[in-house]
């Protein structure tokens, strides 16, 4: 039996241009939005660097998954959403978006460090955290599975007459777009005409798998039309671009323009998890356009445009480092869950008789 295979050639995506309708003026982004998004990026980065150290020091069990390099698009999304009104289900690399949406540092450190006082009480860990009733569902690991849940929350709000002015949002990686769950949920969402904003952070890899073994279209945004979503493609290393697009997409969803898909192009500036050195990422990519650090880009943008000064930024850095330190220290002091005090049931129902 003769064996042959087709040659694999690495697919390098083009630098996307903003896919904005006609005039871009009306999308001009304001100072406050940029400052706020940038602060979330910075806090997320400082927090995640700390998590990485804790992991490497053996203080975190399981794994640590960073959003390094993806903070701009994540923070832009979180900043465009309204906490207490909107629904946001963050995914693996959304520390910046979580922060922007208002998740407390303690929710993060408690979950990673296994404090019984965290929202998951030690029952689930790391990025699998959330507060569903505060509008932030907790992802399960199975990629794509959270999308329909967010849509279901919106669907329920409509039935309750509470959908007016509300947006739902979730994000995912390039790899998650290959799941059946992604497809079913996007299609269903469009059929139900729900105000969902779906952000795909195409960081070139799913774990170690490059785009050319993940999909065969040019830009994943080409999928939007087939679902009846409006599609936006954006440079994920550029905070102003991300903020412009995300704010506009969220605004449109909020005002009845239907579901929106944003594809942000960028590079994961870390391993899949902190156990992974990402040896498989070619140098051409690391040193190419997407290899640039969105926080550095944003710093330059903010300073150049007079949105924030270098001193201010340095001040924020110090403050966040202290905040993170406090949140870690507190979580570390807290008791872990006690197996002897767990009730060990997965049901909320207490049946009167033997089960």
């Amino acid at each position: 039996m003769r064996l042959q295979a087709w040659p694999a050639s690495f697919y390098a995506p083009p630098v996307p241009t903003l896919d904005l309708p006609a005039s871009t003026e009306k999308f001009a982004i304001d100072r406050e939005f940029l400052r706020s998004a940038f602060q979330s990026m910075l806090l997320a980065r400082i927090l995640e660097n700390k998590l990485s150290s804790l992991y490497k020091a053996g203080k975190i069990v399981g794994g640590v998954y960073l959003g390094r390099g993806q903070e701009a698009v994540s923070a832009a999304l979180g900043t465009a959403l309204i906490r207490g009104t909107d629904v946001f289900c963050p995914l693996i690399r959304d520390q910046a978006g979580r922060t922007a949406f208002g998740e407390s540092l303690l929710d993060c450190t408690r979950t990673y460090l296994g404090s019984a006082q965290g929202p998951m009480r030690g029952r689930d860990g790391n990025v699998h955290r959330g507060r569903p009733q505060a509008g932030m569902p907790a992802m399960i690991s199975h990629l794509g599975a959270q999308i329909a849940v967010v849509s279901g929350m919106l669907f329920a709000k409509r039935l309750k007459g509470q959908l007016e002015g509300v947006v739902g949002a979730t994000s995912m990686g390039d790899g998650a777009t290959s799941t059946g769950a992604f497809h079913e949920a996007l299609n269903l969402t469009a059929v139900e005409k729900l105000p969902l904003v779906v952000v795909v952070a195409n960081n070139q890899f799913a774990y170690s798998t490059p785009n050319n073994r993940q999909f065969a279209c040019g830009d994943l945004v080409e999928r939007a039309r087939g679902y009846g979503f409006r599609g936006w493609s954006v440079d994920g290393t550029d905070l102003i671009a991300c903020s412009t697009v995300l704010r506009e997409a969220v605004r449109r969803a909020r005002h009845g323009d239907g579901p929106q898909m944003i594809v942000a192009h960028l590079l994961r500036l870390a391993g899949h998890g902190e156990h992974d050195d990402a040896f498989y990422v070619p140098d051409t990519l690391r040193h190419g356009h997407y290899g640039q650090d969105c926080i550095e880009v944003a710093t330059r943008q903010l300073v150049a445009n007079g949105v924030a000064s270098a001193d201010e930024i340095a001040g924020w850095q110090d403050q966040y480092a202290a905040d993170v330190q406090r949140a870690v220290a507190q979580a570390q002091q807290e008791a872990p869950p006690d197996p002897y005090r767990e009730d060990w049931t997965a049901l909320s129902t207490r049946f009167p008789i033997s089960q």
Partner: protein
């Protein structure tokens, strides 16, 4: 005037829609068409904003229901056939079932699974999946055998805060009739003595309850009094009622229509042996379907699942010890 098993399911959904604004129905062809089996006939006309036809997307259907449940609603999702819930498997066992444990927020969804074989339905429109779902912590699995239970257990199931897998048997839909729906009924989690007896206990559920009663009736002619326990729900499993029956009879046959490896009958036998070993006067027996997919041809199908004949045979053997 009589009420069939499927009438009861329809009536329960009507009552729920009428009385509980949190309830809505989501499924394929359940609107104008009234569902593949007409379990929602007329409901879309009565409740036009709360009965939804949806795309062929079982995974997303359950995902949507979970989201709606987080928001305080009580969706009832119809799978067109239990077999197609295989597509929603992940959302059911990993999303819905784990949610309360992980987050403290319960997920009161009800998934209706038209289950079980009928002649000519073949490998993919005949399955019984209660023994699959029951393995997962966080799910409640109901298997009504009577018209009244079909009604009350659907209503009571929707009232529970946890995800409910409601296995309704297609063979009973039109064949099983009652004069009216009795208002008295047992709570979920409690089994029922479907037929009292003293020589052997058959533990069954869903359509097999009726086959067991038929077999018991036949053996009556030979002087055997067979007790039939209707489990009603397979998770929770009412071990007390089972043990009480086995204590009376000393003999156990666990009967199910699902595949023979594992499943409800294994769990019943294992628990009885663990907790009521001394009650048994003979080796406990099991009778399930055969270890192949459910065949299409009625002649094969009839030999694939337990029948009154094969139940009688199993009981005779059990009684011969």
């Amino acid at each position: 005037m009589s009420v069939t098993y499927i009438d009861a399911i329809r009536a329960a959904q009507e009552k729920l829609l009428r009385e509980d604004p949190r309830v809505f129905l989501y499924g394929q062809d359940i609107g104008v068409f009234g569902g593949a089996f007409k379990a929602t006939k007329g409901l879309a006309a009565q409740f036009p904003d709360r009965v939804f036809d949806c795309p062929i997307s079982e995974d997303a259907m359950i995902g949507l229901a979970v989201g709606a449940a987080i928001e305080g609603l009580r969706p009832i999702v119809e799978m067109q056939f239990a077999d197609f819930s295989a597509i929603a498997f992940n959302q059911i066992v990993n999303q819905a079932a784990t949610h309360f444990y992980r987050t403290g927020v319960p997920i009161p969804i009800t998934v209706r699974l038209p289950s079980g074989g009928t002649p000519g339905s073949g490998p993919f429109h005949s399955q019984n999946m209660e023994g699959i779902y029951a393995q997962y912590p966080g799910l409640i699995v109901l298997t009504p055998a009577t018209v009244a239970d079909a009604y009350h257990m659907l209503i009571d199931g929707v009232a529970l805060d946890d995800p409910v897998i409601y296995c309704e048997h297609k063979f009973l839909y039109r064949w099983l009739k009652a004069k009216t729906i009795n208002n008295e009924h047992l709570p979920i989690g409690q089994a029922r003595i479907a037929r009292p007896g003293k020589h052997a206990t058959v533990v069954a559920y869903s359509a097999m309850v009726h086959e067991a009663v038929r077999a018991a009736d036949r053996l009556q002619a030979d002087g055997w009094e067979i007790e039939v326990v209707d489990l009603r729900s397979v998770k929770p499993l009412d071990l007390d009622t089972i043990l009480a029956s086995v204590a009376r009879t000393g003999r156990l046959l666990a009967l199910g229509e699902a595949f023979p490896w594992g499943g409800v009958t294994a769990e019943v036998v294992a628990r009885v042996c663990e907790h009521g070993f001394h009650l048994l006067d003979a080796p406990p027996q099991r009778l399930n379907s055969r270890d192949t997919p459910v065949p299409y041809h009625p002649k094969l199908w009839a030999s694939h699942r337990p029948t009154p004949e094969s139940i009688c045979e199993a009981l005779r053997q059990l009684l011969s010890f």
